[in-house]
Symmetry: C2
Subunit: 346 residues, 2 copies
């Protein structure tokens, strides 16, 4: 009997259900390590079950889906797959924190050409670590084997977070007033944005390889490019609980320029003093070596700022002090003035 | 100045933020069409806001993430991108319905090599239609432009649903008793499973093209392969609300063979009478032309059954009658016997 005449199996068509089952077994323990008192299901149920926390009288759920973007290419190149999961969780945590929400649970999606149990385990290891750090349960997920979709060794990774906030405590920027101070919280690096451009500059223009030291930075190219996205949950939560935060802008795709206006009420501008912080060497090197102009830099990258918090001017110094005590690098970066929902750099 | 010396922009690196903004504008109206009374945010906020419905005294959230799998390849081949979104929503709705939950909201993830606003609009059109049909809000999502990840014209699509169920009304199979009847609800086709194998058989073995009539079926190859995943929400909800459903198995990846045991309590088997239904021509053709053996067929495909409901034997006839009145094709397919969490086919 020729190969063409033989009967087909699902495995020969590129889908190995048994490998999927084995991979699931390997990650079950990591999933369990994220269990919280309100988690009502274990791995393997059709849907994950989570009790709405009792302490919230008018609970509003806040949800966000995100991907890691082309930072994944750096994971492929280095073979380090255990940090991008943490990037993803922290990114999602910050997105719902921007509306005042505390995370409840997270679900991941991994798309792969051929299921590689070791890689899946590393990815889930990072996700589970991110979940534990942020006190959020890894409630479910999907690992899809998609023959011919992804190059060998490559994958896509996305995730969804759900959090909760008291209805009266939702932060949406409407509390921002003329005269408010804008506090910047330092990023740890590129976080998860601008990697398509950064890789072009670092690998194509500068001709660096992964183990080269990154110019003017402390660490190799791989280290600098893989630095995990920072979570601001622990540092900002006390201030949010005290009602002292009028608005929060998570600086992601679109940079400061596009993200700050998302929370500005009509009739107000954000005036930022660029001399209030030194843009980290990483970004200065990318601008110089890529010949990327300033306006483009402030839309493609976070420029050293991972989150911007709007607070009363009279509270600003104290907020900076408390954020610093909570291990964040924070400073007054500007203020709110009359205008038209733009960012003015001075 | 040579091209190599010119400054780089984000767009030249493959990421077009303005195209993303335009695509967002096109889909905002579709997103708004899914708004429910408890939806508290519009498109564009960092996280989507959804009020926990007031009528539930001890609310448990049920969440599930899924992808469309390689059914997407059929969408690529046909250029029809407006149905796979509905597949995805219905798949997710059924997953949480299997635990007794009513859907609240949905978030999508689209990964693409280069952002194609027309394709994104078609995808979201299908997602929004699925959301409206199931009474669930499209609360957020992420469309990621990932240069070098996906072939031109291709993408990956995943989604996350969150629903709610009263804590005392969670369905987890623990109510299944020896002697219960197993009701099968007909699928509409392959739903979203087994496409890697089906495509091998249909295109490689049978040499069919998209516009050929599908043998023994009513419609072209494209029509038959793209038939949307069926949602059982409307038909099953009244029975669930009346507490008449002891367990539900959504027949997805792994087929009847792997999904039914997920809800069986220890000490019980599901005995299925294969003469109780005629496997639809689609599956018979795939088995015959692919030389796929029977055990493999029942793990790779749903074999004509989209959902299995466990009910009291005394209630079975009435359940079938009510499901039929709700436009489902349903029948008694077997019963629960003492055993070891296996499926026995007879």
């Amino acid at each position: 009997m020729s190969a063409a005449e033989r009967g087909l199996s699902y495995k020969e068509a590129g889908v190995d259900i048994d490998a999927a089952t084995r991979a699931m077994r390997g990650i079950a323990e990591m999933v369990r390590s994220t269990t919280t008192p309100d988690t009502l299901s274990g791995p393997g149920s059709f849907g994950g079950l989570y009790r709405v926390p009792r302490g919230v009288s008018n609970p509003v759920l806040v949800a966000s889906t995100d991907g890691v973007g082309t930072k994944l290419k750096v994971a492929f190149l280095t073979g380090r797959h255990d940090t991008v999961g943490e990037d993803l969780v922290n990114h999602c945590v910050n997105d719902i924190l921007a509306q005042g929400a505390q995370p409840l649970f997270f679900l991941d999606y991994i798309g792969m050409g051929r299921l590689e149990p070791g890689t899946v385990e590393s990815l889930v290891e990072g996700i589970a670590r991110g979940c534990r750090t942020n006190g959020c349960a890894l409630l479910g997920g999907e690992t899809a084997e998609m023959p011919d979709f992804y190059a060998p060794g490559e994958y896509d990774l996305a995730g969804t977070i759900v959090g909760v906030v008291e209805e009266g405590a939702v932060i949406d920027g409407s509390a921002i007033r003329e005269g408010d101070a804008i506090i910047a919280l330092a990023s740890s690096g590129l976080h998860t944005n601008g990697y398509s451009l950064a890789r072009r500059v670092v690998f194509d223009r500068m001709g660096l390889s992964l183990e080269d030291p990154f110019p003017e930075e402390d660490g190799s190219v791989a280290d600098v490019l893989l630095r995990p996205h920072r979570s601001y949950l622990a540092a900002l939560s006390p201030l949010i609980a005290q009602g002292r935060v009028h608005g929060l802008a998570h600086i992601t795709g679109g940079g400061i320029t596009d993200n700050v206006p998302r929370v500005l009420p009509d009739g107000l501008d954000a005036r930022l003093d660029r001399t209030s912080w030194e843009v980290p060497p990483l970004f200065r090197v990318l601008a110089r070596e890529g010949g990327v102009d300033d306006a483009e830099m402030f839309r493609a990258f976070n420029m050293g700022v991972g989150m911007m918090a709007f607070v009363a001017a009279s509270d600003a110094e104290r907020v900076v002090h408390e954020l610093t005590a909570a291990d964040e690098r924070a400073w007054i970066a500007g203020g709110v003035v009359a205008g038209d929902r733009r960012v003015l750099y001075s």
